[in-house]
């Protein structure tokens, strides 16, 4: 320790100040600037990412709303179509029923008509038969038994014809 303290102490302070000046100029200023630039870059990146995420979310929301609307529209169309189909089916059934009724009525009318026609024809036939029978009665000498039998036959004949 015989050399302490001496001028070296002052020298070292001066050396330190020179080194401080050099480092500040060549290292710390640019380095500090670089680090703050990097911090800025990172902050900017985060902000940009945040914005982009928000945009993406907005687009997603819009897209989902659009999807929802489309789905609703499709649903509506399907409902309309179903309803129209049901209505049409009901209409077709209704018209078929009407047609059937019409056909049935027509058939009934026809049957009635035919029946009337048949009855008329039968009357004619019966009249002819009666005339024939009357003729026979007149032409032959007939007893009561025969007469009775004849009438019976006639009635039977007529009944067969009628039924």
């Amino acid at each position: 320790m015989e050399n302490f303290p001496n001028g070296t102490l002052i020298g070292q302070i001066i050396n330190f100040l020179i080194l401080l000046f050099l480092l500040k100029k060549f290292a710390f200023k640019p380095l500090g600037k670089l680090l703050s630039d990097r911090q800025q870059l990172i902050a900017d990146s985060i902000t940009t990412a945040e914005q982009e995420r928000q945009q993406a979310e907005q687009i997603k929301a819009e897209y989902e709303a659009e999807m929802q609307r489309t789905r609703e529209m499709a649903q509506e169309i399907i409902q309309k179509a179903t309803k129209a189909g049901e209505e049409q089916a009901a209409e077709i059934i209704e018209s078929a029923k009407n047609e059937a009724k019409r056909l049935k009525d027509a058939a009934l009318v026809e049957i009635k008509h035919e029946k009337e026609k048949a009855v008329a024809e039968m009357r004619d036939e019966a009249a002819t038969l009666a005339i024939l029978v009357a003729g026979k009665i007149i032409n032959q000498q007939i007893d009561e038994d025969i007469q009775h039998k004849m009438v019976k036959d006639f009635v039977k004949e007529a009944g067969e014809l009628l039924c």
Partner: protein
């Protein structure tokens, strides 16, 4: 086994071969004498030259580190410098208002880098650490001492000295002792650790004779060199962090 003195004189490559400094007949360093303003001052050539070497190394290192600095992908040396910068900046902003600390940052960062490289330089044979000289350690501690007062007065005015009388007036002697012991311990700690490290390295080197080689001189020397790297880092860090803390305490707003 060689004595410490013999090892030192054999290792004195720069002095005895290159004659960067001379030794007198007693093996003592011949001082540089400089008369400044009528005051005759002595400078230790060994320490001064080693300091300049350290300064050159640091400047070369930072020039390499800050050349082609990359914002997005820092390269090797830039990473190292950034790590130191951010580490010390973190220490400063933890202990004091970052706004006030920003002016201090360059100084404490220079402390750290200078002490670190100085400590490590002494581990290379034939070189000595500038910090193994008490003048260097005390010069650095003196800077811290001045900084404590400078920052204290800058932010508190003359009211800075009020803390000498806290909590009661009769604490003045204790507070005064504390005020001056702070830088004193800084200097002694640094000087003691590094100087002892160097002495020990020389001692191990002196044991490189005969059977010491087999029994431990070499192994101990290697282990001690590894440990000295650790010590060099720790001392640089401790000096820096304590300086920051002392200054932060001086400018802290109490109550």
């Amino acid at each position: 086994m060689l004595s410490l003195h013999e090892v030192e004189s054999r290792l004195d490559l720069w002095g005895s071969v290159l004659h960067l400094w001379e030794k007198d007949s007693h093996g003592k360093e011949v001082m540089w004498n400089l008369a400044i303003g009528g005051m005759n001052m002595e400078f230790s050539p060994k320490t001064m030259i080693m300091t300049w070497l350290v300064m050159i190394l640091i400047v070369v290192f930072v020039i390499i580190a800050t050349r082609n600095m990359n914002l997005r992908r820092p390269h090797g040396t830039q990473n190292v410098l950034e790590m130191m910068f951010e580490g010390i900046r973190g220490q400063v902003s933890q202990t004091m208002d970052p706004q006030r600390g920003s002016s201090l940052l360059s100084i404490v960062l220079t402390f750290f880098i200078f002490i670190l490289i100085s400590n490590l330089l002494g581990l290379i044979p034939t070189f000595t650490s500038p910090t193994a000289n008490p003048n260097t350690a005390f010069a650095l501690a003196l800077i811290t001492f001045i900084l404590i007062w400078f920052y204290g007065i800058r932010y508190k005015g003359i009211g800075y000295f009020k803390h000498w009388f806290k909590p009661y007036f009769f604490f003045l002697p204790l507070n005064l002792i504390e005020e001056f012991v702070k830088p004193l311990t800084l200097a002694c700690r640094l000087f003691g650790n590094i100087y002892a490290g160097e002495i020990l390295i020389c001692t191990w080197l002196g044991m490189f004779y005969g059977w010491y080689q087999l029994t431990g001189g070499f192994i101990a020397s290697v282990i001690w060199l590894g440990f000295s790297i650790f010590v060099g880092f720790i001392q640089a860090y401790v000096f820096t962090v304590l300086s920051i803390n002392y200054i932060a305490t001086a400018i802290a707003e109490h109550e």
